[in-house]
Symmetry: C2
Subunit: 378 residues, 2 copies
Amino acid sequence: MTYSSFIPPQRTLMGPGPSDVSQQVLSALARPTIGHLDPLFVGMMDEVKSLLQYAFQTDNEMTIALSAPGSAGMEACFVNLITPDDTVVVCQNGVFGSRMAENVRRIGATLVLVEGEWGRAVDPASLDDALSQHPEAAFVAFVHAETSTGARSDAKVLCEIAQKYHCLTIVDAVTSLGGCELKVDEWGIDAIYSGSQKCLSCVPGISPISFSKQAVDVIKNRDVPIQSWFLDQSLVMGYWSGNGKRAYHHTAPVNSLYALHEALLSLKNEGLENAWQRHQNMHDLLAKGLAELGLDFVVPENERLAQLNTVYIPDGVDDAKVRNFLLNEYNLEIGAGLGQFAGKAWRIGLMGYGARKENIALCLAALNEAISSTRQTL
Amino acid sequence: MTYSSFIPPQRTLMGPGPSDVSQQVLSALARPTIGHLDPLFVGMMDEVKSLLQYAFQTDNEMTIALSAPGSAGMEACFVNLITPDDTVVVCQNGVFGSRMAENVRRIGATLVLVEGEWGRAVDPASLDDALSQHPEAAFVAFVHAETSTGARSDAKVLCEIAQKYHCLTIVDAVTSLGGCELKVDEWGIDAIYSGSQKCLSCVPGISPISFSKQAVDVIKNRDVPIQSWFLDQSLVMGYWSGNGKRAYHHTAPVNSLYALHEALLSLKNEGLENAWQRHQNMHDLLAKGLAELGLDFVVPENERLAQLNTVYIPDGVDDAKVRNFLLNEYNLEIGAGLGQFAGKAWRIGLMGYGARKENIALCLAALNEAISSTRQTL
């Protein structure tokens, strides 16, 4: 077997992530690697931390970029905060809520599952009911932006309910960070994780996370040791600490952090509110076009994510044929359905740098042609 | 606070990693991001797997690039194979052996520690003794190339002893893969992990790992669930499987895998044995020069790693001043001592693309000047 360099085509990425990465971020990624304890790199890490605090709208000291994908960020939140003696209420309205529940089960903690309809926001009343029936619960976990369905839950209201019952909150912001309103401190979120490859439009592989002071206290005061050494935030804190000497924990993904720095800089320069508004504006444009193609949204209008548009596959249209057509004829990627929506829906992402008019025009034109042509061949 | 793009200087990286990354690999890294389930990307993952099998000298089907640094690779090996009922013999002759022991403790398994001298290879007789006293032991773990000391242990002999006692082996090859002889199948290693940023000269953040058929059987047949969802290799297998449809697990670090593909391609083109020999040749050159500077090696000659040269800091020479001088005057990074050798030794890496004559010439000249000038200022 012979091998040669892998030269990928230039795709337009309108799936559920990774999203389009700008040339600016790719150029940052390819800058010369320096040591992970180099004073210049340490200074850059401090800036990444400040920029993440801005993106999350938090003053949390414990705000870092975890050296692994979002699913590891999820796990970091659960395994650091939760012990087998805890009771955790998980709101589940899609694949990623199910994964949260799986995290709780694997820790051996008590799971209270609030099951919601896929494609809908988490129902605040159901959470309130569950908490009133489980006064022993200490944590509430939910997904802000369900990447599997395109539904946006009201994180502010869900946090208020959790606080009423004196629970700490764990929030999945993988698809929300940078793409829609998210205010960690104002809403009182205690642990939050995201991914680099969604609305930040950075390369995949990094998970921004943040813990409130109260959450950090829980981590510091736990009496059951954390099983994971790699995800043990009491150790990672020493590595990301801005105060004096860094304690070596692991080798940071130097170049990926260059890229994250650049992506966060773009967000800061655009302005967070402007970025949220751009996602909404682009969504409105796409939604209008999709309606003209006769496609129906899975999620009711007031619960929709601007950055992830889930539409039903029309009757008589072959899912795989359409997606292959888009990929092969137009170098355009849209997402397949996941979980309950596998084979039933498409997920069209408008994330970060990908939320641009030219992408929408391309997507609508190509999708129109793909649907017509695959219908004819059936 | 205002921010601008981070433009790193061009350093020469001769520490314990990350090592120098070639322009060829950096260019691969910056190619356009495509989807992690794109058929073209899936095809590239298959090539990465084959190239890793070559680098590890194994036919193991379960050979993948873990989406996180080497310390997560270590943890993946331990948490997948070991349950709280197991007894694990860990050979400890440096920082990374200690970390292995910490992994065993956190799992709650029984740890038998074979303590060796730092800066020396693991003593095969001590391992044999420990195993004869602990017939209940099912696993032996050791570090092939101790990054904290520069010592190379005889992995072949240690594996033979483990097999005599019917133990499976877990081997740390973070600093050995690509830099010195390593033959996973021939030596009968059952679980092995490495890092992208050492002798492969790829960017940091990825951990190549491989499991033997016997190890995979242990994972498949365990009755205690693995606590970590992210590191659960029974799930990751479905994502990296070459057989038909990939099961979504997490979003792969697409661009970092482009870079790993390119770095492994360089290794394949050079030839594994040639790469090992180049490291040895460059080591001989460096060792001669270091001796001329009057610097003494920590590790006896026949136990030295060619790719990581640990030398005592001469009396009357200020550690930090020398390293700062090298960094500031010559953009040259060498490594500080770690653990027992903190402040007492330097670690000079000759890893992968960094194992070149021009780097050695630079290092010797700059080190000579640094030692002289900091001696004068004391």
